[in-house]
Symmetry: C2
DNA sequence: TTCAGATAGTCAGTATGCTGATTAGATACA
DNA sequence: TGTATCTAATCAGCATACTGACTATCTGAA
């Protein structure tokens, strides 16, 4: 019989909540939320892009990116500069403050993912990641 | 090298978004969101419980349950009655309107989960569910 | 019996994530 | 040139999900 609490969609929701909570605990040090950290990590690899380009990288809606970036600006991790060749868009740049926590943030991301998978065998980890990628990319 | 976009936590977030969007499309017919449908489905199996008990079943915070139930009451799917033996709590009951869509909702939930897993082999489906359950229950 | 502590639910505030409307600026073509 | 269309970002509004404060009520121990 179909059991809602054992269904894929329910499990995805609950595991996502757990991953979010785990990351949040560790990011309090930097006053960052998990999603802010994801955006900042991408900008640390490549900045000077606009909000739409960042949204494509992290697969988020334009309005969601807007909110996250404005928070990162307030926190002093990111600076917005009007693009001189297209005044509608802003170019995003990371600050020194962001560079200073780069390595610690990466370390934390790795630890969260290891903690989540700690009870899984090597085969389960592999198939889990492969399956989730298939689901993400489907259609 | 660690790739954020291929990490478990990022994939969980994106797959969860996909599952949510897929369910939302199909639930528009009933004016229900996925989380409202989850709550209602549980109440259809067992009502006459209070909000905290429902929250345990669907693993949601008391304030989140409060919001979802009040929406379901507004929509006419649920009725709240003050518990005579404990006036702090309300007992939740489903309406005829809820019973009328019970089977269609269940059907839709099954279809969403099948659609999500359509590109996965039988072995991948099994290991995916087992792994997610381990992650959900860990700690 | 009374009162301190526990409990159920709500509200305010914050963050994420979406849709749809709006503004400002860019572009393409008649 | 001018206008219609497109685009980048923001805003309002809604849903979910949490924390912490608060109200009303219940319960247990002195």
């Amino acid at each position: 019989m179909f059991e809602l609490n054992d269904s894929l969609s329910f499990l995805l929701s609950k595991c996502n909540q757990k991953a979010f909570a785990l990351a949040q605990e560790r990011l309090i040090t930097f006053s960052l939320t998990p999603e802010q950290a994801v955006a900042l990590t991408h900008l640390l690899k490549k900045d000077g892009i606009n909000q739409l380009q960042l949204g494509e990288m992290i697969q988020k809606d334009r309005t969601t990116v807007s909110g996250i970036i404005n928070k990162l600006v307030t926190l002093g991790y990111v600076i917005k500069e009007t693009n001189p060749s297209d005044k509608r868009s802003s170019l995003l740049y990371v600050t020194e403050k962001a560079n200073a926590i780069k390595d610690a943030m990466l370390e934390q991301a790795i630890e969260v993912n290891q903690a989540l998978m700690k009870d899984l065998t090597e085969q389960q980890r592999e198939i889990l990641i492969i399956s989730l990628k298939k689901i993400r990319n489907s259609r």
